[in-house]
């Protein structure tokens, strides 16, 4: 029982990270139709920024995380402006190939700058908490808490503010939004800023538990794609529920079956779903 609760808590923690990454991706892919594969590389970059700020400058962890989110939001906006905007009116496949190019730039740039070794984060919140008879570190509880806060804030931003409404309008009908006087280009940049900031937050939260290294974004982005394809393109609840579900599945199968094949398992699910429903579980058009 203790193992079960431990794995469930771990799963929820992993799931929060997946949800945050998938949320950013679902905004970019579902709303702007850009398969932004670079998202995982930006996630990695976010972890590095937080890591460097916290260790070299000795900043407080939370301050470092906020700065990292802002920095990554800027990088996301620049990327949208320079790379994805010129490809705006073309097949998403071209954006996809450009994204692969940018993965090379970010991941191998990080490899070149910081080396391939795993960076250990200085421990942040190591207090131990008793939950239902199992002990877990405080950091894990904080991850879940911050994730929920960020999700609620995002929801309020999109549903309650005018700026958020322009995002929703663009998602529903880009032409219509433009006719209503919404600056679609600005919405695109804003969506990218939001998405990459969420990725940076997720990476910074998990960094003290997992290690920081250049390849850390690869598996995460593939899983985020699994989530948004299963949960439906552009669906925010789909990304959240899918993220937690995948985290739980992975942590439970890792705890009870085997850890070396858990990637095969989650991609196997995706491939099966795609084989049965080629446009995703809730997808309409391809």
């Amino acid at each position: 029982m203790s193992l079960f609760i431990q794995q469930v808590l771990n799963g929820i923690m992993l799931g929060s990270v997946y949800s945050l990454v998938a949320l950013g991706l679902t905004l970019e892919y579902g709303i702007l139709h850009i398969p932004n594969f670079t998202h995982g590389a930006l996630y990695m970059a976010g972890a590095y920024v937080t890591f460097l700020l916290a260790t070299s400058l000795g900043l407080n962890f939370w301050l470092a995380m906020v700065i990292s989110m802002i920095a990554l939001a800027l990088i996301g906006m620049i990327m949208e402006r320079l790379v994805y905007r010129p490809l705006m009116l073309e097949s998403p496949l071209n954006s996809f190939i450009a994204a692969i190019g940018m993965i090379f730039i970010f991941v191998d740039g990080a490899l070149y700058l910081f080396g391939p070794d795993f960076k250990r984060f200085p421990p942040v919140h190591t207090q131990i908490v008793q939950v239902l008879g199992t002990t877990i570190t405080f950091q894990r509880i904080i991850i879940i808490f911050v994730t929920v806060t960020l999700i609620v804030l995002l929801h309020l931003f999109i549903k309650k503010t005018v700026v958020g409404a322009t995002i929703e309008a663009t998602a529903q009908d880009m032409e219509g939004a433009r006719l209503m006087g919404i600056n679609v280009k600005r919405v695109r940049m804003m969506v990218f800023a939001l998405g990459t900031a969420l990725a940076a937050a997720a990476a910074s939260l998990i960094a003290p538990i997992h290690l920081v290294h250049p390849g850390m974004g690869g598996p995460v982005i593939l899983k985020a794609f699994v989530i948004i394809i299963l949960g439906g393109m552009g669906s925010i609840p789909g990304a959240i529920i899918g993220g937690f579900l995948l985290g739980l599945v992975e942590s439970l199968s890792g705890g009870y079956i085997s850890t070396s094949y858990h990637e095969v398992f989650s991609f196997g699910v995706l491939v099966t779903v795609l084989a049965i429903r080629p446009t995703g579980l809730f997808g309409g058009k391809g």
Binding site: F96, G109, Y112, L222, L270, P278
Partner: protein, 328 residues
């Protein structure tokens, strides 16, 4: 009716000259290092050319291509090391195994379209690499396969035999395989089948309305391209003599993709030019501390935004402009 001038068109002459140059290079290049680069160019050229068939001509961005290269390499290596097979039967069997796995993956993945296909095949690529890495009883996992033999000698009818132990002889083997790949793909592209591939690239629904069975045609293109990727993998395994799971990694797929994009997607010579150019440049720059893949990344982004046709497409555009045939 073929006229004499058509038979001796500058394009044909240039191709003939290039083939002649390819065959005579070992006579004046004796350095093992340069021959090694040439062999790698031919191998990557084969892989990129085969990827071009499914991606450039049929319009399906197959991001599992590196996995098929790895499957071919591992299949040949395992058949030779574990079953003690001779190189030539292992080569044939490895190609068949690659095609069989290509069939299984293709029939699932090809149901999807566009970016879903790209993502799906990429997941397949990761799955295959993880399986090669984790199935240690069969593949030795991360330790890799060591000591894969070179091709066995072919006896000639009048005594004597062709051996593949020296560098030039192996170079001829890969060169002939490359030319064979190019010939097959050239013939396919210029046949009715190639037309139906391109029709699917243009518009799948429209092609189907004209009586082209889209699924079957795409699968055929997929299978042909995997066979040649497998063949390149076999030759690679036998040349390098060592295999590790990285050889099926999606980074290999991305390299093929870059060769195709830089050279010119959907042109016969493009992927070949891309593979030769980038292999030569990266091998020559190996001593200099330039993050090669970062440069590749920039090249890829710039190509996709500004020079969609790659080098060949750019040259064609330039030629049209210079010769004043540009359509207005």
């Amino acid at each position: 009716m073929k006229t004499l001038s058509h038979l001796y068109s500058p394009k044909r002459l240039a191709v003939l000259l290039l083939i002649l140059l390819g065959f005579t290079i070992p006579f004046f290049v004796t350095s093992r290092f340069y021959l090694h680069i040439l062999i790698m160019c031919c191998l990557w050229g084969m892989a990129a050319t085969s990827m071009n068939l499914i991606m450039g001509y049929t319009g399906q961005v197959n991001l599992a291509h590196g996995a098929f290269f790895g499957i071919g390499a591992y299949a040949a290596g395992l058949l030779m090391l574990k079953l003690g097979l001779n190189f030539w039967p292992a080569l044939v069997l490895a190609c068949i195994i690659t095609m069989a796995l290509g069939f299984c993956i293709g029939i699932l993945a090809l149901r999807t379209k566009g970016s879903y296909f790209a993502i799906g095949t990429m997941c397949f690529n990761v799955i295959i690499t993880v399986i090669i890495d984790s199935w240690e009883e069969l593949t030795e996992g991360a330790r890799g396969l060591l000591g894969i033999p070179r091709p066995s000698a072919i006896p000639l009818p009048f005594g004597g035999e062709i051996t593949f132990t020296s560098m030039p002889s192996y170079y001829y083997l890969v060169l002939i395989s490359l030319l064979l790949t190019l010939l097959v793909i050239y013939r396919i592209v210029h046949s009715m089948l190639g037309r139906s591939f391109m029709a699917i690239r243009g518009n799948e629904e429209l092609a189907e309305s004209l009586g082209i069975h889209a699924m079957r045609t795409k699968l055929l293109s997929f299978l042909i391209s995997t066979v040649f990727a497998g063949l390149a993998g076999v030759l690679y395994a036998s040349y390098i003599g060592f295999l590790s799971p990285e050889i099926s990694d999606y980074h290999i797929t991305f390299e093929f993709l870059i060769f195709c994009m830089i050279g010119g997607l959907g042109t016969l010579g493009g992927p070949l030019i891309g593979a030769f150019l980038l292999t030569v440049v990266s091998e020559l720059l190996q001593g200099i501390a330039i993050p090669r893949l970062v440069a590749y990344g920039f090249l890829l982004v710039i190509t996709i935004i500004f020079l969609r046709g790659g080098i060949v497409g750019g040259a064609q555009m330039l030629w049209l402009r210079v010769s004043g045939k540009e359509r207005r």
